[in-house]
Symmetry: C2
Subunit: 345 residues, 2 copies
């Protein structure tokens, strides 16, 4: 069976000959081949804007590491950038928006809907190039940030430790925050639809900053917007699996609901707990602690433990967060081989 | 009943006329009076080293905000500093150690045991001054960082987003990490004993970076060292309540065990969950999301919700993390009054 079918089947909860595996940030800085292309591109954002080079780095981990799926190389922040927010990456400091949203007028100035989504044409072109180059056997995952996670950057203007500006908005100006989230959601819906039309096989929605919201407010300010996107896509493209990855919400897995296929489990959530609370409703993806990749022995131990908990169905192997830049490539290869080995039927 | 007795009784699970309240970082930057003293002291570390001024800022929130307990003004990093690690605070960047621990030889060079603990004399002097100035009615909380949390700074050399240096040590050199943790634990035991001998009424152990360790490794690398400290103190000073605050471990509350009095609940852990898993074994402290302090209305709502869950015993009101610098003082006062109002019997 080609591994694309295996990956898509696994996402949809069907029986597969082994449990497929990929890694968040698998097209990334731990690969010398990636660093070479990135140096050619000049900087990170140039690389996102260059379909030929973005295609090349997307394909690298397939050959080098042997994962069962490719994930589009891009960045979640291209969405607010094309909405008119002027993104830059300051070396050593991460992403910056020069003019964060403070008022309704700031929001009104941003481009919305299809006009913004259409400006992301370089992403769609990248997907089309990848589909030409990628073996038909391998699935291609497209992705987006969740509206909440995108909004945190749009409001704070940069990465933050405390999220106090956007959290202040939760408690003192929820209307403006909902308006921001609604506008981003509209763009993301159309953006993901265009990714599907360009050829992606699976959608992943990253809610990287899920854990910044207190449990009782999470549904209102993040989850329901992700579900709105999932429901829009599921209605039109029911064959395309949707993975939702909300990082760091182990304390209220009971509250997870809605129409999507795979729940991405981060490393802070024990796999036993995720299986108990969600295993009947969703396929689970994850969740090896990425720092285990520093040791082959500790990697093998974790892969075996996860395999023991999850058995051989309704599971996709992955890390519980992105791979770190200083991981040896051979250890990443070891992880992938171990996942495929232990789960083979 | 004097509120010192109320606070200590509440920690020990006895009936009290109302549920007492304090706030993590209550002696801090949101108070203009604190900023004035800090400016006089020159910098943060000078303030920690100056018993007279440290005493003054410790007392400020008692009068201004009306909390039921004072907490010693100091910093968790004075411990590694006096072990010989050369602490500095770089403006806008946080704490730095010039020479992080990489090897056994680096660790061997550090001062341990009573020699290190005795060097913290300015802390003990601060406590003695506070006890002279503080109304007999008010309890004084002393504190320390957990060995794991202190070790993260000693190994990384500064604050970190990924903790990848110390986590790499978990998986590739656990022996060195255990040796570091054991040496820090020895110093902390004696440090806390000297805090008790100097006059503190309650101990709090902050495991601020608990959430950096994957659940299956937490007991081995953090919890058991905190318990070693708690058991040492409980054996000699059974009347002194011990509060343990491990930030961000909602997914394995089932695994919490040992001889201490109060479990500090952070805001990411729903109070219902903490009560269900731990309410019979420990008094619970917490856990309002600190950003709710931006709104009086949202503060009142949260205080009522927490009160409804916890009832009027086996609880201490607090925030689920430290108060932020841009919170209006009147909102902090409102929080304290609301806690005392809703819980009055």
């Amino acid at each position: 069976m080609p591994s694309r079918k295996i990956f898509v089947d696994a996402c949809l909860g069907k029986e597969t000959p082994y449990t497929p595996v990929w890694m968040m940030r698998q097209a990334g800085r731990y690969l010398p081949e990636y660093m070479a292309i990135r140096a050619e591109a000049g900087d990170f954002l140039n690389l996102c804007h260059n379909p030929k080079k973005a295609c090349e780095v997307t394909l690298q981990p397939i050959d080098i590491v042997g994962v069962d799926a490719a994930i589009l190389f891009s960045d979640i922040l291209v969405v607010p950038d094309e909405m008119g927010m002027d993104l830059s990456f300051v070396k050593g400091e991460g992403p910056k928006f020069s003019d964060p949203i403070k008022t309704e007028a700031d929001l009104d100035r941003l481009i919305g809907g299809d006009e913004a989504a259409s400006k992301l044409s370089y992403v769609f072109e990248t997907i089309k190039l990848i589909k030409k180059e990628l073996s038909e056997d391998i699935a291609l995952i497209g992705f987006t940030g969740s509206p909440w996670t995108l909004a945190t950057y749009m409001i704070e203007g940069e990465g933050t430790k405390t999220y106090n500006i956007c959290k202040k908005m939760i408690y003192t100006n929820p209307t403006l925050l909902h308006n921001i989230l609604a506008k981003v959601t509209e763009v993301v819906k159309l953006y993901m639809e265009k990714q599907i039309q360009s050829g992606i096989d699976v959608v992943q929605i990253f809610d990287s900053w899920a854990a910044a919201i207190e449990p009782s407010m999470y549904d209102e300010f993040s989850w329901k917007y992700m579900l709105e996107i999932a429901e829009y896509l599921k209605e039109k493209y029911p064959h395309i699996p949707i993975i939702i990855f909300p990082k760091g919400i182990p304390s209220f897995l009971d509250k997870v609901y809605g129409n999507f296929d795979v729940f991405g489990v981060d490393w802070s959530t024990p796999m036993e707990l995720a299986k108990e609370k969600l295993g009947d409703k969703y396929v689970l993806q994850g969740n090896m602690e990425p720092c285990r990749l520093y040791s082959k022995e500790m990697t093998t131990k974790s892969v075996q433990d996860i395999q023991e908990i999850m058995g051989t169905s309704r599971h996709i192997f992955n890390l519980g967060h992105g791979i770190l830049p200083d991981v040896p490539v051979e250890n990443a290869i070891h992880f992938v081989k171990e996942c495929q080995r232990v789960s083979k039927k």
